[in-house]
Subunit: 328 residues, 2 copies
């Protein structure tokens, strides 16, 4: 910046002014400076900018997600990214893979990176570090999962209702022994979906066999393992409600491997739709979360909050949609 000031025969303050289109600058000076900038192939340092002014936006956002292998989070991320891109924000992506130690480390990095704001799907609803960061004034919006005891913007889906609809649909279709393969029980969404599953049984006065509820860890392998246990039961289920994307795919692998026919031998419906649900054979029924939209809304909410830190918190609950295809 010094070089360009010298080259253009002005002070660096003037350079800063033309760079930021801010303050009054004579047209001819501006032109001179512009030329020097071009000539010297100058690139502003976002780092210095951020250091200088906490008050001014660094145009850097953090995103903290649990599992980038899960297509749901990929779509959320894409939604966030789309908004960020349009508003000229860059993103630091932190994928903690359901590992709380890693999550903590990332949170610390994010903190010391002086980001403008953070979109997070925290592992635990009472994560102390994250709560602290919120209290210290960092704009945060939670997606998919909330945060206890503190005021934050939230974009979530009505998980209980989504599960309820899915299981009701299964029951209406005549299935009697419906299994639930749950993700990590410590994750709120897992519990909410289980609640919907239970409520559907209640509403329909269908007795629920607790042995049909399997708790896993939200990953592919647990879907595989738990589904095998289910199919090997002396009295196996006639339908499966799978707690998330990856669990569904794991379950499908076993079902096909054991040669069971869908939906004749066993029906399956997943929580989370995927772009390629139709590529499956048969096409998969699923509870669709508007993942892209969750990401977009979260991005918008975050940028709003950055621009107007005072505004009160918003909790957005998006609707799920039951995608009836041929697996049920």
């Amino acid at each position: 910046m010094n070089d360009i000031a010298r080259k253009a025969g002005v002070s660096i303050a003037t350079v800063s002014r033309v760079l930021n289109n801010n303050g009054n600058v004579n047209e001819v000076t501006r032109a001179k400076v512009q030329k020097a900038i071009k000539k010297l192939k100058y690139h502003p340092s976002r780092v210095a900018k951020r250091l200088r002014s906490k008050s001014v936006s660094s145009h850097m956002l953090g995103v903290l997600i649990p599992d980038i292998q899960n297509p749901f989070y990929v779509d959320v991320l894409r939604g966030i990214e789309e908004i960020a891109y349009n508003r000229d924000y860059a993103i630091i992506m932190c994928n903690f893979g359901q590992d709380e130690k890693k999550e903590k480390l990332y949170l610390e990095i994010l903190q010391s990176e002086a980001i403008d704001g953070l979109i997070a799907a925290p592992a635990r609803e009472n994560d102390p570090l994250l709560k602290k960061m919120v209290k210290e004034g960092l704009p945060v919006v939670c997606v998919d999962r909330g945060l206890e005891d503190v005021e934050v913007d939230m974009v979530v889906v009505d998980n209980r209702e989504g599960a309820l609809k899915a299981v009701n649909f299964l029951i209406e279709s005549g299935y009697k022994r419906i299994a639930y393969i749950s993700g990590l029980p410590s994750i709120p969404t897992s519990r909410q979906r289980e609640q919907g599953y239970r409520d559907a049984h209640l509403q329909n006065r269908l007795t629920l066999d607790e042995a049909l509820i399997k708790h896993g860890d939200s990953k592919y392998d647990s879907g595989l393992r738990l589904c095998r246990e289910l199919l090997n039961m002396p009295d196996p289920p006639d339908a499966i409600f799978a707690g998330n994307n990856l669990i569904t795919l794991g379950a499908l692998e076993i079902i096909h491997k054991m040669g069971w026919k869908i939906p004749q031998d066993i029906a399956i419906i997943g929580f989370d739709d995927m772009v390629w649900s139709n590529s499956l054979n048969p096409p998969l029924s699923a509870v669709r979360q508007p993942a892209l939209e969750i990401g977009k809304r979260a991005g918008e909410l975050l940028i709003q909050r950055i621009e107007e830190p005072g505004r009160s918190c918003i909790q957005m609950i998006l609707k799920t949609e039951l995608m009836k295809r041929s697996s049920t």
Copy 2:
């Protein structure tokens, strides 16, 4: 840092020393400082650190990938991330969605973020901006795609050979009219795979019907559309070689929708394996790229280069593996 210096009754220089475990510090002074750090819940600012010393590592890496919806890149990313995490690097993830304008913007951001190094799968092999950054001394390693005219580390897969193996296998299995659904022809990997496809025909003296080669844009929808065109031909193919993940999934959707049986009516083999290839019905045959390993190797290479900028460039060519399952 000032606060903690004051609190501990030392100078900020000393604080810096204990923070970085560097230089000689008296044990008792060190203890005092440590205590003050704890008390004041001090967090170092990575931003200031980066500003101060270009010489010292900022511990920030950039990753530039074309399409995060493609599970292949997700795995590459996971590989990179694993290495980065272990070596205490953070990652700025830039997903440009095959959009060159976006790619350019991201490259500029990365540049002004003072990252230590960059892992990129550039849209074009002769991207001028990226080439400039390499020449200016930014450590870069390319994955999946190379960069013309400049020396960079590269981690790629032998695409031609992978395709060759796949199509040879198809031919040996008795298929005669094998279609190729290509990704964007401007992407080198698309062309290399096409070359392998052609070579296989040559080697087996099988005449190749140019009408069976369809060029798309590497995305789901193009797989869908081009596969439909193929199946609707008066003289349709008996096997399909799909240029990537997303194309495969799009093709599968149409095949199922039109009620064709795999592999009786049509065989299909994809380039890129997926975790859930076994979840498909029938399980999908595929050319497996060791995506996670590509990411890891790239991460290692990059960190190596950051630590030893002088070392000469390495070009790593990883092997593909033919996963024979039931779709062929």
